[in-house]
């Protein structure tokens, strides 16, 4: 039995989530609900749930404040959020599952299932949590990204990533250690969150870490040559902005 807690300041959304959990996840039992940081803190301390459905905006604060108060914690979190681009980016960065309001049944099922997988496989999300909260409190750009594969959670230094390659809705991360990590998310997902960390997409299928760019080869429509010797093709549409970007580095 998986014990779950729902934290949201909107009672209707709590009803929806409870309803959807009951309908699709028989193994999950909702042991309590809360609408504020304080109430949630008490509830979680008492019931010790495995899973917390957590809204970002609460009555007396934010979901992050709640997590900071509870650190270290071992339960898994699914964020529920309306329209908070900044928070969403951090959540995506740390491969934490999330649900957008209003709740879509399909997305809900996917997110909860994905988190239940984590619980059942007994993955420790300790490093992930710590990284996530640090990223929030320090208010600086993240130095690590969480990559989730079928059998593990990888905490990867951003500077160790050479490039990413797209392959149907999968993305393979090529690291400087020659390691390759394949994640079941499209390259656009990573382009969105990594652009601010100095990544560039020179081609439909590639996302490159500009730190590792050695030079540009302009022959044959152009290639980006990396430190590792890898050659990444450049789309003609992206050439101009890539050159501009490298000049400004």
């Amino acid at each position: 039995m998986i014990k779950a807690v729902i934290v949201d300041d909107n009672p209707d959304i709590r009803v929806t989530n409870k309803h959807l959990l009951a309908e699709y996840f028989i193994e999950v039992e909702v042991v309590g609900e809360a609408d504020s940081v304080e109430a949630a803190y008490n509830l979680i301390s008492q019931t010790l749930p495995h899973l917390v459905l957590l809204d970002i905006e609460l009555k007396d604060g934010t979901g992050f404040q709640l997590l900071q108060k509870l650190t270290p914690y071992s339960f898994k979190v699914i964020f529920i959020t309306g329209y908070n681009q900044y928070a969403l980016k951090a959540i995506k960065f740390h491969a934490i599952d999330y649900i957008l309001k209003p709740v879509n049944a399909t997305e809900f099922r996917e997110a909860v299932q994905s988190t239940i997988d984590l619980i059942e496989k007994d993955f420790s999300t300790h490093d992930q949590n710590e990284q996530f909260l640090q990223n929030f409190s320090a208010n600086v750009g993240p130095s690590k990204i969480v990559l989730r594969t079928i059998d593990a959670l990888h905490l990867v230094k951003i500077s160790d990533i050479l490039f990413c390659k797209n392959d149907n809705s999968y993305t393979t991360f090529h690291l400087s250690s020659d390691e390759k990590i394949m994640v079941s998310k499209g390259i656009v997902f990573y382009e969105e969150i990594l652009t601010e960390s100095g990544f560039f997409r020179p081609h439909q299928s590639y996302l490159v870490n500009l730190r590792h760019v050695k030079r540009l080869d302009k022959a044959d429509g152009g290639y980006v040559i990396l430190d590792s010797g890898d050659e990444i093709p450049i789309s003609s549409r992206r050439k101009k902005s890539l050159i501009q970007l490298l000049e400004n580095l």
Binding site: T16, Y83, L100, K101, P102, V103, N104, A105, T106, E107, V188, R201, Q204, S235, R237, R238, K240
Partner: protein, 716 residues
């Protein structure tokens, strides 16, 4: 609150000091008293402050005095010395002591407190007010000390307005104390302060007071000289405040100098402005009638004189102006004396005695008047007694004309009593004084001064007129300059306006574009809502929820993209799919959809104007694919052709109506046309579209094909 009271009354019983500080006469002050007893002074302070505004405090001055008394003590306990002194003074104003010893103790107490207060401006005021209080207590020596300290403070903080006022008051005190030099010195300090702050009213006042000192001493020449300075300030600044007083004072000087023409002239000047409230205070109006009476009497027009003095009496009584009442009665007495009605005259004199103040002038003058009457009645003994009183009065040298009168009366009385030796001696003093005062030379000089003043005034007028002319000339020059400047400004303004307009127009089109992008067809929104409603009535909660979340997802995209000028082709297609899913979800037998995207196209990189395709899809569904009795199909084909995305949208629906009138143009297409124009203007790239009824090509086929060319915005 109840707990408080019980607790307090306990202390009340055990504290032996209670009897000293609390007064059981005022039970309403009990709480405050108790608070201060248990050292909660600031609460007590607030309580008493509040109590000051209570109805009882407002109606009962004893009660208010009592509160002030307590506030003094509490303020002292709180080290609020300035407030403590303030409350002390207020308390004393309401409740004077009758016991001399207690009074002295009080004065010492405040004197002790004064050095503890630290704020200079506040201190100036406190010392000054304390000085005023001492004056009222007739404690002149101490009052002088405090005035001096106040003056020092005011000088220290360079508050010249305060210096002027305090020095002026001090000068008055010194004069009354017989210290004429110091008095004049103080008036001069007041004058300097007034000059420092350029306060013409105070300046003129100081001049007048200085002049008064000289005149009272008998130095008419210097007196009138300074007097005219004061008048000059008033007249040149056209400052009418208290002007009547200035005229009357000047007139007075001429009267003393026996220049009766000038006396009358200045009184008439004052008379002319008697109805101007600014220039003439009620008191001055009263004295004016007194002067008019004096003039009439001098011309021996006794009846008009009586009328003037009666008026003076009436006005003075109305405004409770004691000196006025007194002057009227005295003068009426003198007229009656001249008319031979000695009894009536004496009666009036006695009546006027009631209005005597502590001002020594009136004592002396009253005695003189009384003497004149008693002389006629032959009461020489009383006469001598009164005159001796005058001679012994220390203030007599301050009032030259009354001194003269006293000397003359002494001479006359002694002559009547056949005391020739004394009579001769008094006559001698009289002549000496008279000569000094009415010396021909002095009078001549005074006349010369007057002429000089008048000439100066005229010269000044001429100067002013010349200056005005000059100013007018310059004004004309300036006007020309100003017009030229305005003209330049106007031209610049027009140029600016032109550019602004251009800019605004640009901005407007931008906003318009944004607005158009964000317009989701309201008809569509209501359809969505209607569908949700339908699901709810059919208890299809899951469907409703699913439908709602699809709509949320679409509106999320519309919100996000409507702020952007361009969007990647992949996102545009995603949004289109979202929309089509929503439309399909509403149908009982939804149509099929097919997307053909050229594999070589970089859909993530190609940027196009957002949301241009939706109106055509909406059109295809609404007019083609709804309510078909066969399975519908909608297919898309995207290709890249030389900087354009070529889109083909094909449906197998009913086809376009034969006569395509404007009513069939959907709102969506209307918006499309508006946006098309804006985008084409901005990017200089054409958007083309073409409708084709499929049955015009092939009779067996149904439906419509739309060809669209969308510009790729990031194509070089």
């Amino acid at each position: 609150m109840k707990f408080h009271l019980i607790f307090i009354s306990f202390i009340f019983l055990v504290n032996p000091l209670v009897g000293q500080t609390t007064n059981t006469k005022y039970p309403s002050l009990f709480l405050g008293d108790s608070l201060s007893l248990i050292q909660r002074h600031s609460e007590a302070f607030d309580f008493y402050q509040n109590e000051l505004n209570s109805p009882q405090s407002i109606s009962d001055t004893f009660y208010r005095a009592e509160i002030y008394h307590r506030l003094c003590m509490v303020s002292e306990a709180l080290n609020l010395f300035r407030e403590a002194i303030d409350f002390h003074l207020k308390w004393r104003n309401l409740q004077p002591f009758t016991n001399q010893q207690e009074n002295q103790r009080y004065l010492d107490k405040v004197a002790d407190l004064l050095p503890k207060a630290t704020d200079s401006l506040g201190l100036t005021r406190l010392y000054y007010r304390y000085g005023l209080l001492l004056t009222r207590e007739a404690n002149r020596d101490q009052a002088l000390q405090y005035f001096l300290r106040a003056l020092n403070f005011a000088n220290g903080i360079k508050n010249y307005a305060a210096v002027a006022t305090i020095a002026n008051d001090l000068a008055g005190e010194y004069w009354d104390a017989g210290q004429r030099d110091l008095s004049t010195k103080m008036y001069r300090q007041s004058l300097e302060a007034a000059i420092a702050i350029n306060d013409s009213n105070r300046m003129a006042g100081a001049y007048l007071n200085i002049a008064g000192n000289y005149i009272d001493e008998g130095d008419f020449k210097t007196g009138i000289q300074i007097h005219l300075k004061a008048l000059k300030i008033k007249e040149s600044l056209e400052d009418k405040s208290n002007l009547s007083y200035y005229y009357q004072q000047t007139a007075e000087v001429y009267y003393h100098a026996r220049n009766f023409e000038k006396w009358e002239e200045y009184i008439l000047k004052a008379y002319q402005i008697k109805d101007c409230e600014d220039c003439t205070s009620p008191m001055e109006k009263a004295t004016l009638y007194g002067e008019l009476g004096g003039i009439a009497k001098h011309k021996n027009q006794l009846q008009p004189a009586i009328q003037y003095f009666d008026t003076l009496l009436i006005i003075s009584t109305e405004i409770a102006y004691q000196n006025g009442q007194k002057t009227a009665l005295d003068n009426l007495a003198l007229i009656n004396k001249d008319l031979g009605n000695y009894k009536k005259a004496l009666e009036l004199t006695n009546k006027s005695e009631a209005f005597l103040t502590d001002n020594p002038f009136y004592h002396i003058s009253h005695n003189n008047t009384k003497v004149e009457l008693l002389q006629r009645l032959g009461k020489h003994k009383d006469v001598l007694a009164l005159l001796t009183q005058n001679i012994e009065n220390k203030a007599l040298p301050n009032y030259a004309s009354e001194k003269l009168r006293t000397f003359r009366l002494l001479y006359e009385t002694n002559l009547q009593l056949a005391k020739y030796q004394d009579a001769f001696s008094w006559n001698d003093s009289l002549r000496v004084l008279e000569n000094r005062l009415r010396d021909v030379d002095v009078r001549k000089e005074m006349a010369a001064l007057e002429t000089k003043y008048q000439t100066e005034k005229k010269e000044q007028q001429i100067y002013l007129l010349t200056a005005e002319n000059e100013i007018n000339n310059q004004r004309i020059k300036l006007s020309w300059l100003f017009i030229a400047f305005l003209f330049v400004l106007l031209v610049m303004g027009l140029i600016l306006l032109f550019f602004r307009r251009k800019q605004a127009a640009f901005k407007q089109s931008e906003l318009q574009q944004q607005l158009l992008r964000s317009q989701m067809n309201p008809h569509f929104i209501y359809n969505v809502m209607g569908s949700i409603q339908g699901y709810l009535y059919n208890h299809e909660a899951v469907k409703a929820a699913d439908y709602l979340s699809k709509f949320a997802s679409l509106s999320r995209s519309v919100l996000e993209f409507s702020a952007q000028e361009s969007i990647s082709l992949s996102k545009e297609i995603e949004m289109l799919q979202n929309y089509i899913e929503l439309e399909r979800a509403r149908m009982s037998s939804p149509f099929e959809v097919e997307y053909n995207i050229d594999s070589g196209m970089e859909t993530d990189f190609i940027e196009i104007p957002p949301m241009l395709l939706q109106p055509f899809v909406e059109n295809a569904i609404k007019h083609g694919l709804q309510n078909l009795n066969y399975s519908g199909k909608l297919s898309f084909c995207f290709r890249e052709i030389q900087g354009y995305v070529a889109v083909e949208i094909v449906d197998n629906g009913k086809g376009l109506p034969v006569s395509k009138d404007k009513d069939h143009n959907s709102k969506a297409l209307e918006i499309f046309h508006q946006r098309k124009k804006g985008i084409e203007r901005k990017f200089k790239k054409e958007i083309t579209f073409e409708f084709q009824n499929l049955n015009t090509i092939d009779n067996t086929k149904k439906g419509v094909r739309v060809f669209l060319h969308l510009p790729i915005l990031n194509h070089d």
